[in-house]
């Protein structure tokens, strides 16, 4: 088979808009999904990111139709699918443990959705071959799942999810079982396929790096709610609360009291009396408790001109390969983490040293919880 039989790109078709309108799921008294709303655009790579028990998988299962919502609506391209059974939703799905049929070979696994749609044999062969070429498994068509590695099984699951050209593909922690190196490789591959086919992907993961690497937008979920929704860079740099700040990457959070509030900047007084300035996302009244957020890699050693400066003692140093992490105790029991790129120069002060740490005001935010 030549490369003539590849998938026709769907990009630009404008299909695959998904709207979640306040969907709710209760188990007993607990709302495991609590009025989740999101508008996912055609061709978008959208991730639901959160710790286990945050409701992300339940949300995905409601989109797939395996779990019936207790409230709200799910719409695809304007059509209400809330009460449509899963087999008539026409969505592609990649399961956490691949769910490859053990009694069917790779070809028949990938052909399954087409057989369900009564696609004619000639077209079926062409489409399956095309999907297998896309995931580079065309040589393995006659194998069975038990004869494949984890990464290859994953590719079968992807080929099976895209072979019938769904405009939306749902993926439930598809890389959870793979080791770290293979994971990154597969992330690139999935992203590449998604862009080539122009399909909408809703991706559930608890791995923040994975979500940031692949997503156009991320919804951070916690206790059944979306805490924040936006592009990875925006959420990383401007988290709206402490949960998001701590969940997506490392975060320094310094507690204190708001002293003065200007238009988009505020002054926070630490408990030991040090004054720190930071950006302010929304209105707040002076005098209330608040915290300041800054990423470890934004900190530097030394006193820094018009930015924030604190002094403290080095408590711990860890070598992390590409960077060196230093933990500093700054008055009143607050610890700050400083990440320096490993430039081969020893990477900052030794344990026990007294140091100053500084960072630009623009890189810190006031969090109100």
């Amino acid at each position: 088979m030549g490369s003539a039989v590849t998938q026709p790109p769907l990009s630009g078709s404008g299909k695959g808009a998904l709207e979640l309108d306040g969907i709710i799921k209760r188990y007993g008294d607990e709302r495991v999904v609590d009025a989740v709303s999101a508008t996912i655009r055609p061709g978008e790579f959208f991730s639901l990111l959160g710790p286990s028990g945050s409701g992300k998988t339940t949300t995905l299962m409601m989109i797939a139709g395996f779990v019936a919502p207790d409230g709200g609506a799910i719409r695809v391209d304007g059509a209400d699918l809330t009460h449509v059974p899963p087999q008539r939703r026409g969505l592609g799905m990649v399961f956490q443990n691949y769910a490859i049929f053990p009694h069917l070979n790779v070809f028949e696994n990938v052909a399954f959705p087409l057989r369900a749609r009564h696609v004619a044999e000639a077209e079926l062969r062409q489409r399956v071959t095309g999907a297998l070429e896309l995931v580079r498994l065309d040589r393995f068509a006659q194998r069975f799942a038990r004869q494949l590695s984890g990464g290859q099984q994953q590719r079968v699951a992807i080929a099976r999810a895209i072979v019938f050209h769904p405009s939306i593909v749902l993926m439930d922690e598809p890389l959870g079982a793979l080791d770290k190196n293979l994971r990154y490789e597969m992330q690139v591959e999935i992203k590449d396929i998604q862009q080539r086919l122009g399909m909408t992907v809703v991706y559930v993961t608890h791995d923040q790096e994975e979500a940031m690497n692949m997503s156009d937008r991320i919804a951070i979920m916690n206790r059944g709610r979306i805490e924040q929704l936006g592009p990875p860079g925006e959420i990383y740099e401007h988290p709206t609360n402490e949960f998001v700040a701590r969940f997506l990457g490392e975060a320094n959070v310094i507690e204190g009291t708001l002293e003065t509030v200007a238009r988009d900047e505020a002054l926070l007084r630490m408990r030991d009396g040090t004054a720190l300035r930071a950006r302010l996302g929304r209105n707040a009244t002076p005098g209330r408790a608040a915290s300041l957020f800054v990423r470890p890699e934004k900190l530097a050693f030394g006193a820094g001109g018009d930015g924030n400066t604190v002094t403290g003692t080095v408590r711990r140093r860890s070598f992390l390969g590409s960077m060196i992490r230093t933990v500093i105790e700054v008055g009143s029991g607050t610890h700050l983490t400083v990440d320096l790129a490993n430039l081969g120069d020893g990477g900052g002060p030794e344990v026990g040293a007294s140091v100053s740490v500084c960072w630009p005001v623009a890189h810190s935010m006031i969090l109100l919880d």
């Binding site: 059974p85 087999q87 008539r88 049929f101 009694h103 399954f112 369900a116 019938f164």
Partner: protein, 287 residues
């Protein structure tokens, strides 16, 4: 990448094998030794060794034996098919339920399993006999004039044996169905498959090893069945085990009984070898 999982080799010569010693000794004393002694006595001591082969062929090709083999096979096949058709839906129900309904159905399946076969067979005779419950009820209702011949024919044998053997099939199928990954069924549904397609293309193939194991175990048990066909069958419904019993008890022809027993044992062992190949016995036992 090469496929991984090769099961770890079991070392049977370790000390825990000693735990099986009492059972093995018991089995040897009450089963293997008497059986060997019986075969040796009847075939080599009491029989002229030169005529042994012709004696064997005579017994196995006798009209009575051929008729019994045909009857045994036919009844066993019908029983196996009936048990399978009845057991599959029950096992499916059990595999997809839990709580009270599960417990109730398991109770109904397992309690007869622990009840004496004779008791169960007699209770069918009470139901099916000329003056039994069914005939009595039908006559009282005026639906029939004379009693239906429900007992002492092949149908009654099949009914009785089906009832006795049903638990073996249900429990075997249940184990196979429980091991089916539910995600595969969800995946099939998510890919657009209808209910019948999921059953024929996914569920049935994945439960097929249970069907084969269950059918083999029921067939193996059927071909050696004695009590139920002896009590519920008619004069012409003679199965191999009954023919053996007649040789021992009535005609006192122990050599023929011995040859027929060996034949039945050989067939059973061959079928069991097949059963062992298809069924991962260790997995059935939860290992």
């Amino acid at each position: 990448m090469p496929p991984r999982d090769s099961p770890p080799k079991r070392n049977m010569l370790n000390r825990s094998a000693l735990l099986m010693l009492p059972a093995f000794v018991m089995l040897a004393i009450v089963f293997l030794v008497p059986l060997g002694w019986f075969f040796a006595q009847t075939l080599f001591v009491n029989t002229d060794p030169t005529g042994l082969w012709s004696q064997i062929t005579d017994v196995l090709t006798s009209r009575a034996m051929l008729q019994a083999i045909i009857t045994t096979n036919w009844i066993s096949l019908v029983v196996t098919a009936t048990v399978l058709l009845m057991g599959y839906p029950i096992a499916y129900y059990l595999a997809n339920r839990n709580g009270l309904r599960f417990t109730l159905v398991v109770f109904c399946i397992v309690v007869p399993y622990f009840t004496s076969i004779i008791v169960r067979t007699y209770s069918w005779m009470v139901l099916l006999g000329r003056t039994g419950l069914i005939n009595h009820a039908l006559q009282s209702a005026g639906m029939i004039d004379s009693p239906l011949p429900l007992l002492y024919n092949k149908t009654s044998i099949v009914i009785g044996m089906t009832y006795v053997l049903l638990p073996y099939m249900v429990l075997t199928l249940f184990a196979a169905m429980k091991s089916i990954d539910r995600n595969l069924l969800l995946a099939a549904r998510g890919m657009g498959a209808s209910g019948p397609m999921i059953f024929w293309r996914v569920y049935l193939p994945l439960s097929l090893h249970g069907v084969i194991s269950g059918a083999l175990i029921v067939f193996i048990l059927s071909i050696g069945f004695f009590i139920t066909p002896a009590l519920m069958g008619g004069p012409s419904d003679v199965m191999v085990a009954m023919l053996i019993e007649r040789s021992v008890e009535i005609t006192l022809d122990w050599t023929s009984a011995s040859v027929m027993s060996l034949f039945l044992l050989a067939v059973t062992l061959v079928l069991y070898a097949i059963y062992y190949r298809v069924t991962d016995v260790r997995r059935l036992m939860g290992a």
